[in-house]
Subunit: 690 residues, 2 copies
């Protein structure tokens, strides 16, 4: 639905243009007139005469037919203006700056709906209202400044917030990023982020289209379309990094009063981004740094060499990389000795390679070549080169420029002398390079990029699950929490391993079962609600005698009707759960059980159905992942089986959308087994049609 | 030991001066000659003639008597130069740029030692070698550039690394920090960070001395002196923020090859900083942002109001503050409605307060005044004001300048238009203000500052502990791991609560004891090393019958000699441990037990003896602190008692330095009790004299 008239208009009219460039209608005209647009530009202002040196039409009636109209008039004049332009002047694309719509009041929301109706009826498109506009290499119909360096291979940015888009662009320009297009979607009354992603996806040409997309979002109105098009773009070779703000409860309140965003849960956003393969960021500078990493050659592993002219920043960088699970491997001693021979006395070569303060660009070049050709274990090179006052920085940056172009490995330039070498840095950036001024920020961005996992949309793992049986069970289950036998059947159909158990009031049967499953066992009385409080749970029973003793005792507890026997399992508690969220479907959650989920909230989320890769990335993203992995001193858990259980559950859920919430808590895991011990499932079949 | 001749010299000689300002000897002369030094400046160069327009002496023999000498000659000429100048020309302060000493080789280390001997014999002081120099408001004897804005109320910075000091200064200048002095200590052969802190401490004048100190360190040679003087400065009203790099294992290798730093464990550094009240940072930009926060009025609580002209950054900031445990409380509805009446239509007022893009400096001023006077619950104000192209930024920044000076609350300016408003930002900063260009970075820095705890050096909590008895026990204990009875006695003397237990081979005694302490109980066989593997541990025994049954079984296990009876305690496992580290003393560690300490390494550290405040800050700094706190759904643990046990243990250790390592693992805790269940203590009395 995004038309040529927006992307490459033959004519543009600014309605509400002004001589005052501190007004949106003045500012946009200034940007257009001084930018790259070289076709017909019309200006409407009731005063007539000339505006910023351009002849002004006193009314819209007088202008010729036009492709794109920029509307900067009060909200109450928007409707008739847009209607007239669409009907009488053939305008097919509108950018509406005007505020006073749904972001302000209910009346405004009504007005906005009417505006959208008019635009839809005319078969036109509209960016806004309450937006700051749009620019690409053809025209700069945006009222904010600065308009950055335009580059058809630059970044595309889409933002819910007009101020934010500018401030992100400024953070990004400062480190050398260039832009192809910027979309400030404002209230997104008609064109939303989903439409723009769809447009970029449909128009994508692997040879000519730019590859990096940045998003700033406060809401995601249509998660399905968002997911499909972002994943599709990424599969075609794009990278997308995004801030979705409003994740804290106060932040959510702030977003709601800013763009009327209705909170989706943060776990839903995390799940969506994971499935799409979007890198999530939390600040403007982080977003810019991640984008800068993405402009460089792709890094294929997690080993970095650091070439530096100053020891301190290299130590800081090494610490920060290590925190982000990127290694700075030591260079083989013989190799290091050989390299040292080419450097100044005092140089250190173990990695970081310190060419020392008086080390020149030539020394840096020697190290880059040497590392590229001889240091087999590395995947990328970070170069720290500032201007401490005793080296020819301009020369060094020219050499660095060449090396970045020719080296087969990605080179990350850290040029910290933002003041003493600002001129040289500007020149370096003008050649098309990015620059990381702070090594810690680079490490953080790089760590996000190397942890990226590809999209996994549209796949369903080929895994044996009895779907007809699942449907049959669900169709026959009543609303509400389902009973434990039904849960057992469901899990059986999905291939989720469950603890063995027997419920009986016959002591001999209990003893036989205990011998069958093997001691130690657990016995619980069935009947009383709070079993533990009445001494109704006995752990670690190790003999027939002891079981007989406890069986009699348990049956004497008031309200006890039967005794449940289970094997005594030991292991780490894990947790898998899911909730159904409108527009998203099932958000599957996993983590360690007990306090990890209840208090520490260390939970990863993914959208059902999950692939093995996705479930695996969920597990690896847990803060407590080390416990699942194990360490030298402690055995890990069966991660593969845990992954499989998450995948199986997610497929079960995909075919049982009536399940509105559920959890398996705990799953008990050790290095061999992962077994569901207890579960709750709530079904809700009657759905209110929204 | 820092002399007036370094701080305020009457004459300076540059030995090894050059016309080439890319050489240290040329660069320092340039900085000196173009800086604030207005007394006698001599230059020595064997060529004679004039250097940078200053008459050059051909040898050091020819110069007049001098206070301070800057040495920029090859390492092998340093000794005789320094010796001659000290003896014949009365030089009392040396700054030695020359490299090729201990950082390079063992021969270099010998040379360095000789150099220090010469300086010491002459009763002089020396900064370096292998440093980039020193500057203050009187003279700029440093060869790196830029030399920043000098301000007697500016920041003092001390750094192990010459390059890093410059790059930190550049990061800091960019956001508006000013400097009083910079000390690049290089190899710190004679003057180390401890000496400089001592000097600043001794000379401190509450009226005239600057208050903010920044440190970049790769080693701490004398933790005791470092601690005493930094804590003393902080008690006098200073704030210190520091990077100690080399905390990862690769980072430690990097630091060692950079400045020959011998690793102190990261927990020792954490403990030291906690005791001193130093704010720990991890990157240059973080250090600069923390320093910038410290230049503003002190924030007295954790509630912030955000006044913004753009919604997005305010939402990002709100999320980030929430992550850092700083609140953005909602404004009372009536109050908000009143404020809204003063703002443009479309303004949002719940907090964040969004004056919208066209909101002016006047609107901002109205909000600041309103929040200061009427919004009782807040402790600070963040103002986000950029230049999206439609407001008079210069005017707004003039108003902001006034408000920062007059408002009783601290105001944090976030001016994000680093490109579009760079001129206006420069003007704002020139008035003496700092600026946070990224709201996320401000949130992070602010969170560090509000979490600051004051120094707790030299205090010993007044708490009943039987020191003579502790000494008596330790004096009579042999080297190695001490037995459980001795541990019991020690903890008893220190007032650390322990689990009750009985070890016996008499079944009746066991049953009597079980009845005394109350069922359920735990029985363990004594003798076999791996009790659990041979079924030697029985949990949750609930009756005489069951105990009798298990007692007989346990006694039949091969190697079992006795049975230990303990109450069956349930609760969260906690951990307290300590290790003795050379020069630091006892590092006390605490955390949650089990996987939290073994795998997640979620451990906080402090230096013995600990105050209640300090132990409490250790507990609060745990990532898993929420588990100790509890939440609505889960009861917390007895934090006060846990704190007390840590304090008691730390005092015990202070009087038992023979304990080289120990742990209590687990301590079992619930909302009422915290009880030591098991402990190991290793004593080592014969100490090798270093």
């Amino acid at each position: 639905m995004i038309y040529e008239q927006l992307i490459n208009p033959k004519s543009i009219v600014v309605v509400g243009a002004s001589d005052n460039i501190l007004k949106p209608g003045g500012s946009v005209l200034h940007n257009l007139a001084t930018g790259t647009f070289d076709k017909d530009l019309y200006v409407v202002n009731a005063r007539g005469g000339s505006i910023q040196g351009i002849k002004a039409y006193v009314s819209i009636e007088e202008i010729p037919g036009t492709d794109l109209a920029i509307i900067s008039v009060p909200a109450n004049q928007c409707l008739q203006t847009v209607e007239y332009l669409a009907k009488e002047k053939g305008v097919k694309a509108f950018i509406v700056f005007s505020a006073g719509f749904s972001e302000e009041s209910e009346d405004g929301a009504k007005l906005e709906k009417e505006l959208v109706d008019i635009v839809n009826k005319a078969g036109a498109i509209m960016i806004g209202p309450n937006c700051s506009g749009f620019f690409n290499t053809k025209h700069q119909s945006i009222f904010t400044r600065p308009v950055p360096n335009l580059d058809p291979q630059g970044v595309d940015i889409i933002s819910s917030s007009g101020g934010t888009i500018t401030y992100i662009i400024e953070s990004a320009m400062r480190i050398g990023l260039r832009f192809n297009s910027a979309w400030s979607i404002g209230n997104a009354a008609q064109v939303g982020v989903e439409d723009i992603l769809e447009f970029l996806d449909n128009e994508f040409d692997p040879k000519s289209s730019p590859k990096i997309k940045l998003l700033y979002l406060e809401k995601i109105a249509d998660p399905d379309r968002f997911l499909n098009h972002s994943a599709s773009l990424i599969r075609k070779g794009c990278k997308i990094a995004a801030i979705k703000s409003g994740s804290s409860s106060s932040g959510s309140r702030a977003a709601s009063s800013h763009t009327g965003a209705i909170a989706s849960s943060d776990s839903a956003v995390e799940a969506l981004f994971r499935k799409a393969g979007i890198i999530r960021c939390y600040s403007r500078e982080e977003l810019a740094n991640v984008a800068a990493v993405l402009t460089l050659k792709e890094i294929k592993g997690r080993n970095l060499v650091i070439i530096t002219q100053a020891g301190g920043p290299a130590v800081i960088l090494t610490d920060a990389l290590s925190k982000g699970n990127i290694d700075v491997p030591e260079m083989d001693k013989e190799l290091a000795a050989e390299l040292k021979g080419h450097l100044l006395p005092g140089a250190a070569v173990s990695n970081p390679i310190d060419i020392i303060g008086t080390g020149t660009g030539e020394h840096m070049a020697i190290c880059i070549d040497f590392c590229e050709k001889r240091f087999k274990e590395i995947d990328g090179i970070a170069v720290i080169y500032g201007n401490p006052g005793v080296s020819n920085v301009a020369e060094a940056y020219e050499i660095l420029d060449q090396k970045i172009r020719t080296c087969r490995l990605p080179i990350y330039p850290i040029l910290p002398s933002v003041i003493a070498a600002s001129q040289e840095m500007d020149n370096f950036v003008k050649k098309g390079h990015v620059n990381f001024t702070d090594e810690y920020a680079l490490a953080n961005a790089l760590s996000k990029v190397v942890s990226w996992t590809p999209p996994s949309v549209g796949k369903m793992e080929d895994i044996k699950i009895d779907i007809p049986r699942i449907r049959n069970i669900i169709d026959n289950a009543p609303d509400g929490y389902i009973d434990s036998d039904t849960i057992r059947e469901l899990f059986d159909a999905a291939g989720i391993p469950q603890v063995q158990e027997l419920v009986t009031n016959d002591k001999d049967k209990a003893i036989n079962f205990a011998n069958k499953i093997g001691y130690p066992i657990v016995a619980k009385c069935v009947g009383p609600v709070h079993k533990s409080d009445v001494g109704g749970v006995v752990l670690n029973i190790r003999s027939d005698n002891h079981l007989a003793l406890e069986f009699d005792r348990l049956m004497k507890i008031p309200a006890a009707t039967e005794v449940m026997i289970q094997p005594m399992l030991s292991g780490q508690e894990l947790f898998v759960g899911a909730k159904y969220e409108s527009k998203y479907g099932h958000i599957v959650l996993c983590g360690l059980g007990g306090i990890f989920v209840e208090i520490l909230k260390d939970v990863a989320s993914g959208l059902a159905p999950l692939s093995f890769n996705e479930a695996s990335s969920m597990i690896r993203s847990l803060r407590a992942y080390k416990i699942i992995q194990g360490t030298r001193g402690q055995k890990g858990l069966n991660e593969k089986l845990f992954t499989e259980i998450i995948v199986r559950l997610s497929i079960l859920l995909r075919f049982a959308t009536e399940i509105k919430e559920m959890d398996i808590n705990p799953l008990l895991a050790n290095e061999e087994k992962v077994i569901a011990v207890d579960a709750r499932i709530r079904i809700e079949k009657l759905q209110v049609i929204p």
